[in-house]
Amino acid sequence: MVKFVTDIWDTFSTVFKGMGITARYMRKKPVTQQFPEERWALPDRFRGFVHNDVPRCTSCTLCAKACPVDCIYIEMEGKGKDRRMTRFAIDYNKCIWCSLCTEPCPTNCITMSHDYDHSVYLREKLVYEFVGDPVIPFKPKKAAREEEAEA
């Protein structure tokens, strides 16, 4: 009988203890952020969509080799001075935002941007082409100078 009463007492007292905590939080400020108007302040290191700054790209394909999921597509034509980069595409069907491609880049042209919210209606739209017309790959100053010296 004593156990019966204490059980009931325990149940009510512990439940009300929990309720008390909930009640305490009712007086506090809400934590919800109104998403499209308010945005979370992104930290500097945030990893969003991969972005390639094409004018600075040397088309060395180190990023494509480092990518664990093979989502970077680089195509080139010509040789030597006629070398043109015809394609630099990233397939966001596969990309996993891991930032491994940015590490070996010699000119820091491939970066993780702060863009992240682009939902689409079609899967094909997730293949991003960065190069339209063929471009001349960028040569870093030091390498260019060496080449001149050789010539």
């Binding site: 093979d70 989502c71 597509y73 195509e75 397939d91 069907n93 899967r123 094909e124 997730l126 293949v127």
Partner: protein, 196 residues
């Protein structure tokens, strides 16, 4: 007890079944014949001086195409191409399969690595599921991935893959499936441009 002493103890008890001992590596390996594994396991657990009461890890290995020279040029596994298609496999593997047991004792805090090679054509090995119950799932997993049959396992079915799956996926010569029943497994190579 060091691995050397454990090996000598095993050598004295199971003379012919113990095949060898690799001692010049940091985690020495004792290898034995596939038929004797059940008895050896029972002895390892029950002998008070050894009392290996924990099976840490039961792994299957496919030694097909291992680079013996140590240059790292082993056989490449097959994959889905960039456009999502599958290439057929020409040469089936011939290398041995193996099962590796990592054991530990709570009482004496010593560890042992037991390796058992089985031929690829008839991969059969005695089960240790009655010694360490946790081995039952490990054996099912190994059967699932490598097709090694554990004789004496009470419930030897595929564990992860569906029952009617074809092939043993973790073998080096496994060809990637095109579809499973009516589920397509090939991909769409959306980013791959046509050559024309």
């Amino acid at each position: 007890m060091t691995e050397q002493e454990i090996y000598q103890r095993l050598q004295a008890r199971f003379d012919d079944s113990i095949l060898g001992f690799e001692s010049d590596i940091p985690q020495p390996v004792v290898s034995c014949t596939p038929e004797a594994v059940g008895d050896i396991a029972k002895y390892l657990r029950d002998d008070p001086a050894l009392s290996f009461d924990r099976l840490l890890c039961l792994s299957g290995v496919d030694y097909e195409g291992l680079d013996e020279k140590g240059k790292g040029k082993h056989r490449e596994i097959n994959r889905y191409e960039e456009d999502g298609t599958v290439n057929p496999v020409e040469d089936p593997g011939t290398g041995d399969l193996a099962v590796v047991y990592h054991l530990e004792s709570f009482k004496h805090h010593h560890r042992l690595c037991l390796s058992v090679r089985v031929p690829r054509e008839t991969p059969k090995i005695a089960s240790v599921g009655h010694v360490w119950i946790t081995a039952q799932y490990g054996e099912r997993e190994t059967y699932d991935f490598f097709g090694i049959e554990f004789e004496g396992n009470p419930d030897l079915r595929r564990l992860f893959l569906p029952e009617d799956w074809v092939g043993w996926p973790l073998r080096k010569d496994y060809e990637m499936p095109v579809r499973y029943n009516d589920v397509p497994l090939e991909g769409l190579g959306l980013a791959v441009r046509d050559e024309q």
